[in-house]
């Protein structure tokens, strides 16, 4: 019990640290750290908090969330919204969009953690493939676009992000291939 409470406090502290100016401004200086560090960490914090919710809360939520459908819908809406270049720019220039970002990304992580285990394995497979395809599509798009998508970020930043997305997507694909061909589990996906 003690350990569990302690972990939640740590997660909360991490959330607050991300929201405070030094770390927030540092991570938002570049499109790469904004999208590949800050947002994923916020989602992971949400995911972990979601995991450690009391069982009776989970049961209550689950009755609204059969097969994880509601939670996945919510997560996808939030994800789509923050993929709009406008939304990311707004988060940098307006404090209330920033606040909404911190809250909704956290909720996204939480709803993923509550819904993913309930999803049918085939649906899980489809989502994984779709996430992977989004990585590759965005990576290719960022690398190829001659113009900046975000007014607050440099074109060179956008290109690096594109490369990293393609690289990450490729690594993921290779991990899958290994798993299918040799049964080696490099990462748990």
């Amino acid at each position: 019990m003690f350990n569990k409470i302690k972990r939640e406090w740590l997660l909360l502290a991490a959330f607050v640290a991300l929201a405070l100016p030094p770390l927030r401004q540092f991570l938002e200086q570049s499109m790469v750290t904004h999208m590949l560090v800050q947002i994923p960490i916020l989602a992971i914090i949400g995911w972990m908090i979601g995991k450690s919710l009391p069982a009776n809360w989970k049961n209550k939520i689950a009755s609204w969330n059969q097969w994880g459908i509601t939670g996945m819908a919510l997560a996808i809406v939030i994800m789509t919204y923050w993929m709009l270049p406008r939304a990311l720019d707004a988060a940098i220039s307006e404090w209330y969009f920033e606040l909404i970002k911190f809250i909704t990304i956290f909720i996204m992580g939480m709803s993923l953690s509550l819904s993913w285990p309930l999803l049918h394995p085939i649906a899980q497979g489809v989502f994984k493939l779709e996430f992977w395809a989004t990585f590759m599509r965005l990576g290719w798009l960022y690398l190829d676009l001659p113009d900046r998508l975000c007014a607050n970020y440099l074109l060179s930043d956008q290109r690096i992000l594109g490369q990293l997305l393609l690289l990450g997507g490729s690594a993921w694909a290779i991990a899958w291939v290994f798993r299918i061909m040799f049964g080696t589990k490099i990462i748990n996906t």
Partner: protein, 208 residues
């Protein structure tokens, strides 16, 4: 049943939010949004007083009854401002008769007023063989004024990795009544010309 209800609600609310926040699927980036906003709601420009290349003070309302094309730049800009500059040069040639009749003015506003002295502005203009009667360069007189101007036009300027700036680049059109009525991207020079030709002609017809 509960799941069905909750999911339907989330999907509908989500689509609505996405629809609203992209102006009905028409603007996905800040740049698209500011162009769209100006087209739909032209806004009157404040009467800022700027210092031009001859160290004279000019006020934007001095050019009432003319169309103005404004671009934002800084003189040490290595890339995009050069395209803007040569495009204005093209406008100066193509619209020479309108410029001569005082129906149109070209103004380049620097957002780096500390470095861009009147001397620098003059050099910049002469680099593009600007006719100073038709095309002037100007700088804000204080940093608060600079911020107000950038804010009004929604031009975002960020420092780049070479000690310069990256910025929203475009042509901002002010009509005869002093309203910002259109913004064209750097790639839309032809659309800008068409727009100017049409607007200037329309006004003539009305005058006749």
């Amino acid at each position: 049943m509960r799941t069905f209800l909750a999911t339907t609600l989330i999907v509908i609310a989500g689509l609505l939010i996405l629809w609203i926040s992209t102006d009905g699927g028409r603007a996905y980036t800040v740049e698209e949004a500011r162009r769209l906003e100006v087209r739909e709601n032209p806004r009157p420009i404040p009467n800022w007083r700027l210092q031009n290349q001859d160290s004279e003070m000019i006020a934007l309302h001095d050019f009432r009854n003319q169309f103005i094309v404004i671009d934002f730049f800084y003189t040490s800009c290595p890339s995009v401002c050069l395209i803007l500059g040569s495009s204005l040069k093209e406008l100066q040639k193509d619209f020479s008769s309108e410029l001569e009749k005082n129906n149109l003015k070209l103004i380049s506003i620097s957002f780096d007023p500390e470095k861009d002295t009147p001397q620098k502005l003059r050099e910049y203009l002469s680099h593009f063989s600007a006719n100073l009667k038709y095309w002037m360069a100007a700088r804000p007189t204080s940093s608060s004024q600079k911020e107000a101007i950038l804010d009004f036009f929604k031009v975002i300027v960020i420092p780049d990795e070479y000690g310069g700036y990256t910025h929203s680049a475009g042509y901002h059109v002010i009509d005869r009544t002093g309203r910002l009525v259109a913004i064209f991207g750097i790639e839309q020079l032809n659309e800008l010309k068409e727009y100017l030709t049409q607007s200037l002609n329309k006004e003539h017809v009305q005058q006749d």
